[in-house]
Protein backbone atom coordinates (compact mmCIF):
# COMPACT_ATOMS: atom_id res chain seq x y z
CA UNK A 1 0.00 0.00 0.00
CA UNK A 2 1.25 3.49 -0.85
CA UNK A 3 0.92 5.05 2.58
CA UNK A 4 1.98 8.52 1.46
CA UNK A 5 -0.95 8.95 -0.90
CA UNK A 6 -3.45 7.86 1.74
CA UNK A 7 -1.83 10.22 4.23
CA UNK A 8 -2.07 13.01 1.66
CA UNK A 9 -5.79 12.36 1.26
CA UNK A 10 -6.31 12.32 5.00
CA UNK A 11 -4.23 15.46 5.40
CA UNK A 12 -6.28 17.34 2.82
CA UNK A 13 -9.53 16.01 4.30
CA UNK A 14 -8.48 16.93 7.83
CA UNK A 15 -7.40 20.41 6.73
CA UNK A 16 -10.77 21.11 5.12
CA UNK A 17 -12.65 19.60 8.06
CA UNK A 18 -10.74 21.79 10.51
CA UNK A 19 -11.05 24.98 8.46
CA UNK A 20 -14.74 24.34 7.84
CA UNK A 21 -15.58 23.59 11.46
CA UNK A 22 -13.68 26.57 12.82
CA UNK A 23 -15.83 28.80 10.60
CA UNK A 24 -19.08 26.89 11.09
CA UNK A 25 -18.76 27.30 14.86
CA UNK A 26 -18.32 31.09 14.51
CA UNK A 27 -20.59 31.95 11.58
CA UNK A 28 -20.99 35.63 12.49
CA UNK A 29 -17.21 36.13 12.59
CA UNK A 30 -16.95 34.47 9.18
CA UNK A 31 -19.81 36.61 7.87
CA UNK A 32 -17.96 39.76 8.96
CA UNK A 33 -14.71 38.59 7.39
CA UNK A 34 -16.45 37.70 4.15
CA UNK A 35 -18.02 41.13 4.07
CA UNK A 36 -14.58 42.74 4.06
CA UNK A 37 -13.94 41.45 0.55
CA UNK A 38 -16.84 43.44 -0.92
CA UNK A 39 -17.51 40.66 -3.41
CA UNK A 40 -21.29 40.78 -3.14
CA UNK A 41 -23.66 43.64 -2.45
CA UNK A 42 -26.71 41.58 -1.56
CA UNK A 43 -27.20 40.54 2.06
CA UNK A 44 -28.99 37.35 0.95
CA UNK A 45 -25.99 36.30 -1.16
CA UNK A 46 -23.50 37.25 1.53
CA UNK A 47 -25.47 35.35 4.20
CA UNK A 48 -25.81 32.32 1.92
CA UNK A 49 -22.08 32.22 1.25
CA UNK A 50 -21.22 32.62 4.93
CA UNK A 51 -23.80 30.00 5.92
CA UNK A 52 -22.94 27.37 3.32
CA UNK A 53 -19.20 27.57 2.66
CA UNK A 54 -18.01 26.32 6.07
CA UNK A 55 -20.34 23.30 6.05
CA UNK A 56 -19.50 22.62 2.42
CA UNK A 57 -15.85 22.40 3.41
CA UNK A 58 -16.76 20.07 6.27
CA UNK A 59 -18.64 17.87 3.78
CA UNK A 60 -15.72 17.74 1.35
CA UNK A 61 -13.29 17.07 4.20
CA UNK A 62 -15.40 14.12 5.38
CA UNK A 63 -15.62 12.68 1.87
CA UNK A 64 -11.85 12.75 1.55
CA UNK A 65 -11.25 11.26 4.99
CA UNK A 66 -13.66 8.43 4.22
CA UNK A 67 -12.47 8.06 0.65
CA UNK A 68 -15.75 8.69 -1.15
CA UNK A 69 -15.87 10.23 -4.63
CA UNK A 70 -12.25 11.27 -4.12
CA UNK A 71 -11.49 12.66 -7.57
CA UNK A 72 -14.76 14.54 -7.85
CA UNK A 73 -14.20 16.00 -4.39
CA UNK A 74 -10.62 16.95 -5.28
CA UNK A 75 -11.91 18.73 -8.39
CA UNK A 76 -14.56 20.55 -6.34
CA UNK A 77 -11.88 21.66 -3.88
CA UNK A 78 -9.72 22.97 -6.70
CA UNK A 79 -12.65 24.90 -8.09
CA UNK A 80 -13.06 26.50 -4.64
CA UNK A 81 -9.37 27.02 -3.86
CA UNK A 82 -8.37 28.84 -7.04
CA UNK A 83 -10.83 31.76 -6.84
CA UNK A 84 -10.44 32.00 -3.04
CA UNK A 85 -6.68 32.28 -3.40
CA UNK A 86 -7.18 34.93 -6.07
CA UNK A 87 -9.47 36.97 -3.82
CA UNK A 88 -7.06 36.68 -0.87
CA UNK A 89 -4.15 37.69 -3.08
CA UNK A 90 -6.08 40.70 -4.38
CA UNK A 91 -6.84 41.77 -0.83
CA UNK A 92 -3.22 41.35 0.22
CA UNK A 93 -2.10 43.55 -2.67
CA UNK A 94 -4.59 46.21 -1.58
CA UNK A 95 -3.25 46.06 1.97
CA UNK A 96 0.32 46.20 0.73
CA UNK A 97 -0.29 49.40 -1.20
CA UNK A 98 -2.49 50.96 1.50
CA UNK A 99 -0.01 50.28 4.29
CA UNK A 100 3.13 50.67 2.14
CA UNK A 101 4.75 47.54 3.53
CA UNK A 102 6.53 44.60 1.86
CA UNK A 103 4.17 41.99 0.42
CA UNK A 104 5.22 39.22 2.80
CA UNK A 105 4.76 41.55 5.80
CA UNK A 106 1.03 41.76 5.03
CA UNK A 107 -0.82 39.91 7.77
CA UNK A 108 -4.57 39.54 8.05
CA UNK A 109 -7.39 37.14 8.80
CA UNK A 110 -8.55 36.04 5.38
CA UNK A 111 -11.54 34.14 6.76
CA UNK A 112 -9.91 30.87 5.79
CA UNK A 113 -10.41 29.38 9.24
CA UNK A 114 -6.78 29.64 10.30
CA UNK A 115 -6.90 33.09 11.94
CA UNK A 116 -4.53 35.95 11.22
CA UNK A 117 -1.63 34.87 9.01
CA UNK A 118 1.15 36.35 6.93
CA UNK A 119 0.11 36.36 3.30
CA UNK A 120 3.15 34.50 1.94
CA UNK A 121 2.53 31.65 4.36
CA UNK A 122 -1.15 31.61 3.45
CA UNK A 123 -0.40 31.48 -0.27
CA UNK A 124 2.08 28.65 0.30
CA UNK A 125 -0.53 26.73 2.28
CA UNK A 126 -3.10 27.17 -0.47
CA UNK A 127 -0.56 26.12 -3.08
CA UNK A 128 0.16 22.93 -1.12
CA UNK A 129 -3.56 22.21 -0.75
CA UNK A 130 -3.98 22.76 -4.46
CA UNK A 131 -1.07 20.44 -5.21
CA UNK A 132 -2.57 17.72 -3.01
CA UNK A 133 -5.91 18.17 -4.78
CA UNK A 134 -4.25 17.74 -8.17
CA UNK A 135 -2.48 14.62 -6.90
CA UNK A 136 -5.76 13.11 -5.77
CA UNK A 137 -7.42 14.14 -9.00
CA UNK A 138 -4.83 12.06 -10.84
CA UNK A 139 -6.15 8.99 -9.05
CA UNK A 140 -3.86 8.77 -6.02
CA UNK A 141 -4.95 7.89 -2.49
CA UNK A 142 -7.12 4.99 -3.65
CA UNK A 143 -6.25 2.70 -0.73
CA UNK A 144 -8.48 2.58 2.36
CA UNK A 145 -11.26 4.29 0.42
CA UNK A 146 -14.89 3.44 1.03
CA UNK A 147 -15.86 4.25 -2.55
CA UNK A 148 -13.10 5.94 -4.51
CA UNK A 149 -15.26 6.31 -7.62
CA UNK A 150 -18.95 7.04 -7.44
CA UNK A 151 -19.44 5.34 -10.79
CA UNK A 152 -18.74 1.62 -10.63
CA UNK A 153 -17.45 1.47 -14.20
CA UNK A 154 -14.88 4.23 -13.72
CA UNK A 155 -11.65 3.60 -15.63
CA UNK A 156 -8.71 3.03 -13.27
Amino acid sequence: MDASTVLARWLLGAAFLYMGLSKALHPVDFLKLLRQYDIVQSSLLLNSMAAALPWFEVFCGLLLLLGIAVRGTALTMMVMLVPFTGVVLHRALQLKSALAIPFCAVKFDCGCGTGEEFICRKLLENFLLLLLSVWLLLGRGRQLSLRFNLFKSSPQ
Binding site: H26, V40, F59, A69, Q94, L99, K107, F108
Partner: protein, 222 residues
Protein backbone atom coordinates in the same frame (compact mmCIF):
# COMPACT_ATOMS: atom_id res chain seq x y z
CA UNK B 1 -1.55 -3.83 -31.39
CA UNK B 2 -0.03 -0.46 -30.67
CA UNK B 3 -2.60 1.38 -32.78
CA UNK B 4 -5.45 -0.44 -31.07
CA UNK B 5 -4.28 0.54 -27.58
CA UNK B 6 -3.98 4.18 -28.61
CA UNK B 7 -7.43 4.14 -30.14
CA UNK B 8 -8.99 2.54 -27.08
CA UNK B 9 -7.04 4.80 -24.66
CA UNK B 10 -8.57 8.05 -25.92
CA UNK B 11 -12.20 7.22 -25.20
CA UNK B 12 -11.20 5.67 -21.86
CA UNK B 13 -9.50 8.91 -20.82
CA UNK B 14 -12.39 10.93 -22.12
CA UNK B 15 -14.82 8.75 -20.15
CA UNK B 16 -12.71 9.17 -17.02
CA UNK B 17 -12.71 12.96 -17.36
CA UNK B 18 -16.47 12.98 -17.93
CA UNK B 19 -17.03 10.79 -14.88
CA UNK B 20 -14.80 12.95 -12.67
CA UNK B 21 -16.70 16.01 -13.86
CA UNK B 22 -20.08 14.46 -13.06
CA UNK B 23 -18.73 13.18 -9.76
CA UNK B 24 -17.72 16.76 -8.90
CA UNK B 25 -21.18 18.02 -9.88
CA UNK B 26 -22.82 15.42 -7.63
CA UNK B 27 -20.45 16.24 -4.76
CA UNK B 28 -21.19 19.96 -5.21
CA UNK B 29 -24.97 19.42 -5.30
CA UNK B 30 -25.12 17.11 -2.29
CA UNK B 31 -22.55 19.28 -0.50
CA UNK B 32 -24.66 22.40 -1.02
CA UNK B 33 -27.78 20.62 0.26
CA UNK B 34 -25.80 19.36 3.26
CA UNK B 35 -24.37 22.82 3.94
CA UNK B 36 -27.70 24.68 3.91
CA UNK B 37 -29.36 21.95 5.99
CA UNK B 38 -26.53 22.01 8.55
CA UNK B 39 -26.81 25.81 8.77
CA UNK B 40 -30.56 25.51 9.26
CA UNK B 41 -30.22 22.88 12.00
CA UNK B 42 -27.28 24.51 13.78
CA UNK B 43 -28.28 26.73 16.71
CA UNK B 44 -25.48 29.04 15.58
CA UNK B 45 -26.75 29.12 11.99
CA UNK B 46 -27.28 32.33 10.06
CA UNK B 47 -30.70 33.54 8.99
CA UNK B 48 -30.34 33.88 5.23
CA UNK B 49 -32.88 36.64 4.77
CA UNK B 50 -31.82 38.87 7.65
CA UNK B 51 -29.78 41.98 6.94
CA UNK B 52 -26.98 41.66 9.50
CA UNK B 53 -25.49 44.96 8.42
CA UNK B 54 -28.05 47.74 8.62
CA UNK B 55 -25.22 50.15 7.86
CA UNK B 56 -24.82 48.45 4.46
CA UNK B 57 -23.40 45.19 3.13
CA UNK B 58 -20.68 47.01 1.21
CA UNK B 59 -17.80 47.81 3.47
CA UNK B 60 -16.00 51.09 2.96
CA UNK B 61 -13.65 51.24 5.89
CA UNK B 62 -9.92 51.56 5.45
CA UNK B 63 -7.62 49.08 7.19
CA UNK B 64 -5.76 49.20 10.45
CA UNK B 65 -2.22 47.82 10.40
CA UNK B 66 -2.35 44.21 11.48
CA UNK B 67 -6.07 44.32 11.77
CA UNK B 68 -6.66 42.89 8.36
CA UNK B 69 -9.70 44.78 7.28
CA UNK B 70 -9.75 46.52 3.94
CA UNK B 71 -11.92 47.37 1.08
CA UNK B 72 -11.41 48.94 -2.26
CA UNK B 73 -12.34 52.27 -0.77
CA UNK B 74 -9.59 51.89 1.76
CA UNK B 75 -6.92 53.26 -0.51
CA UNK B 76 -8.42 56.69 -1.05
CA UNK B 77 -9.04 57.86 2.48
CA UNK B 78 -5.42 58.48 3.47
CA UNK B 79 -6.08 61.53 5.63
CA UNK B 80 -8.38 59.74 8.10
CA UNK B 81 -7.70 57.09 10.70
CA UNK B 82 -10.10 54.12 10.64
CA UNK B 83 -11.96 55.49 13.66
CA UNK B 84 -12.24 58.96 12.07
CA UNK B 85 -13.39 57.43 8.82
CA UNK B 86 -16.02 55.39 10.63
CA UNK B 87 -17.10 58.42 12.66
CA UNK B 88 -17.60 60.36 9.43
CA UNK B 89 -19.69 57.50 8.05
CA UNK B 90 -21.84 57.42 11.17
CA UNK B 91 -22.44 61.16 10.99
CA UNK B 92 -23.55 60.67 7.40
CA UNK B 93 -26.18 58.23 8.67
CA UNK B 94 -27.38 60.77 11.21
CA UNK B 95 -25.77 59.12 14.22
CA UNK B 96 -24.09 61.22 16.89
CA UNK B 97 -20.52 60.29 17.67
CA UNK B 98 -18.98 60.70 21.10
CA UNK B 99 -15.30 60.87 22.01
CA UNK B 100 -13.50 59.36 24.99
CA UNK B 101 -13.68 62.32 27.35
CA UNK B 102 -17.40 62.89 26.71
CA UNK B 103 -18.07 59.20 27.35
CA UNK B 104 -16.05 59.24 30.57
CA UNK B 105 -17.99 62.32 31.72
CA UNK B 106 -21.28 60.53 31.15
CA UNK B 107 -19.95 57.50 33.02
CA UNK B 108 -19.21 59.68 36.06
CA UNK B 109 -22.48 61.61 35.78
CA UNK B 110 -24.90 60.82 38.68
CA UNK B 111 -27.70 60.24 36.13
CA UNK B 112 -25.83 57.07 35.10
CA UNK B 113 -26.65 55.52 38.47
CA UNK B 114 -30.38 56.07 37.89
CA UNK B 115 -30.28 54.58 34.39
CA UNK B 116 -30.96 57.90 32.71
CA UNK B 117 -27.64 57.40 31.00
CA UNK B 118 -27.26 53.90 29.58
CA UNK B 119 -24.27 52.17 28.05
CA UNK B 120 -24.84 49.49 25.42
CA UNK B 121 -22.09 46.99 24.59
CA UNK B 122 -22.49 45.86 20.96
CA UNK B 123 -19.96 43.03 21.09
CA UNK B 124 -20.64 39.31 21.38
CA UNK B 125 -21.21 37.57 24.69
CA UNK B 126 -17.66 36.21 24.94
CA UNK B 127 -16.07 39.65 24.60
CA UNK B 128 -18.68 41.22 26.85
CA UNK B 129 -17.85 38.79 29.63
CA UNK B 130 -14.14 39.39 29.22
CA UNK B 131 -14.68 43.01 30.16
CA UNK B 132 -17.21 45.77 29.51
CA UNK B 133 -17.89 49.28 30.73
CA UNK B 134 -19.33 48.74 34.23
CA UNK B 135 -23.12 48.60 34.12
CA UNK B 136 -23.26 48.38 30.32
CA UNK B 137 -26.04 46.27 28.83
CA UNK B 138 -25.13 43.48 26.43
CA UNK B 139 -26.65 43.90 22.97
CA UNK B 140 -25.10 41.81 20.21
CA UNK B 141 -26.57 43.25 16.97
CA UNK B 142 -26.20 39.85 15.26
CA UNK B 143 -28.60 38.27 17.76
CA UNK B 144 -30.80 41.23 18.73
CA UNK B 145 -33.84 39.08 19.55
CA UNK B 146 -31.98 37.73 22.60
CA UNK B 147 -31.57 41.19 24.11
CA UNK B 148 -34.55 43.32 23.07
CA UNK B 149 -36.65 42.32 26.09
CA UNK B 150 -34.02 43.62 28.49
CA UNK B 151 -32.54 46.49 26.53
CA UNK B 152 -35.59 48.13 24.96
CA UNK B 153 -37.42 49.17 28.18
CA UNK B 154 -34.16 50.56 29.57
CA UNK B 155 -33.44 52.50 26.38
CA UNK B 156 -36.98 53.87 26.26
CA UNK B 157 -36.59 55.34 29.75
CA UNK B 158 -33.03 56.60 29.26
CA UNK B 159 -32.18 60.18 28.31
CA UNK B 160 -28.83 59.33 26.74
CA UNK B 161 -27.69 56.02 25.30
CA UNK B 162 -24.05 55.37 24.51
CA UNK B 163 -23.37 52.43 22.19
CA UNK B 164 -19.87 51.06 21.75
CA UNK B 165 -17.96 48.06 20.41
CA UNK B 166 -14.23 47.40 20.07
CA UNK B 167 -13.37 50.75 18.49
CA UNK B 168 -10.99 51.10 15.55
CA UNK B 169 -12.85 50.05 12.44
CA UNK B 170 -15.44 47.98 14.30
CA UNK B 171 -18.87 49.07 13.10
CA UNK B 172 -21.00 46.82 15.30
CA UNK B 173 -21.85 49.83 17.48
CA UNK B 174 -23.20 51.55 14.37
CA UNK B 175 -25.28 48.46 13.54
CA UNK B 176 -26.61 48.30 17.11
CA UNK B 177 -27.48 52.01 17.14
CA UNK B 178 -29.29 51.71 13.81
CA UNK B 179 -31.20 48.67 15.09
CA UNK B 180 -32.29 50.58 18.18
CA UNK B 181 -33.29 53.53 16.04
CA UNK B 182 -35.28 51.21 13.77
CA UNK B 183 -37.32 49.91 16.70
CA UNK B 184 -38.26 53.41 17.81
CA UNK B 185 -35.49 54.69 20.07
CA UNK B 186 -35.09 58.40 19.40
CA UNK B 187 -32.06 59.34 17.38
CA UNK B 188 -31.61 62.40 19.63
CA UNK B 189 -30.55 60.29 22.59
CA UNK B 190 -28.41 57.77 20.70
CA UNK B 191 -24.64 58.26 20.72
CA UNK B 192 -21.89 56.04 19.39
CA UNK B 193 -18.62 55.94 21.30
CA UNK B 194 -16.29 55.50 18.33
CA UNK B 195 -13.16 54.77 20.42
CA UNK B 196 -14.91 51.77 21.95
CA UNK B 197 -13.68 49.49 24.70
CA UNK B 198 -10.11 49.60 23.38
CA UNK B 199 -9.84 53.35 23.95
CA UNK B 200 -11.71 53.02 27.25
CA UNK B 201 -9.15 50.54 28.56
CA UNK B 202 -6.25 52.55 27.17
CA UNK B 203 -7.52 55.48 29.23
CA UNK B 204 -7.27 53.26 32.34
CA UNK B 205 -10.97 53.42 33.02
CA UNK B 206 -12.58 50.54 34.94
CA UNK B 207 -14.08 47.49 33.27
CA UNK B 208 -16.46 44.97 34.71
CA UNK B 209 -15.72 41.28 34.20
CA UNK B 210 -18.50 38.72 33.71
CA UNK B 211 -22.20 39.54 33.93
CA UNK B 212 -23.66 43.04 34.28
CA UNK B 213 -23.34 44.35 37.84
CA UNK B 214 -21.15 41.39 38.78
CA UNK B 215 -19.15 43.79 40.92
CA UNK B 216 -15.93 42.33 39.53
CA UNK B 217 -14.25 45.59 38.52
CA UNK B 218 -10.76 46.06 37.19
CA UNK B 219 -8.80 49.06 36.15
CA UNK B 220 -6.99 48.27 32.95
CA UNK B 221 -3.40 49.24 32.07
CA UNK B 222 -2.53 50.40 35.56
Amino acid sequence: MKDNSIQSGVPTRSLAIRQIFWEAVIVAAIGAAFAFTANMISPLGLALTRNYFPSGVARSVRPVAGDGLLSAAGTNSEALSPAQFLAAQMKEKGLQVMDGSQTAQLFHNPRFQSNLIVFIDARDEEHYRQGHIPGAYEFDPYHPEKYFDTVLPVCQKAEQIVVYCNGGDCDDSESAALLLRDVGISNQKLFVYAGGITEWMTNSLPVEIGARNSGNLRNMNK
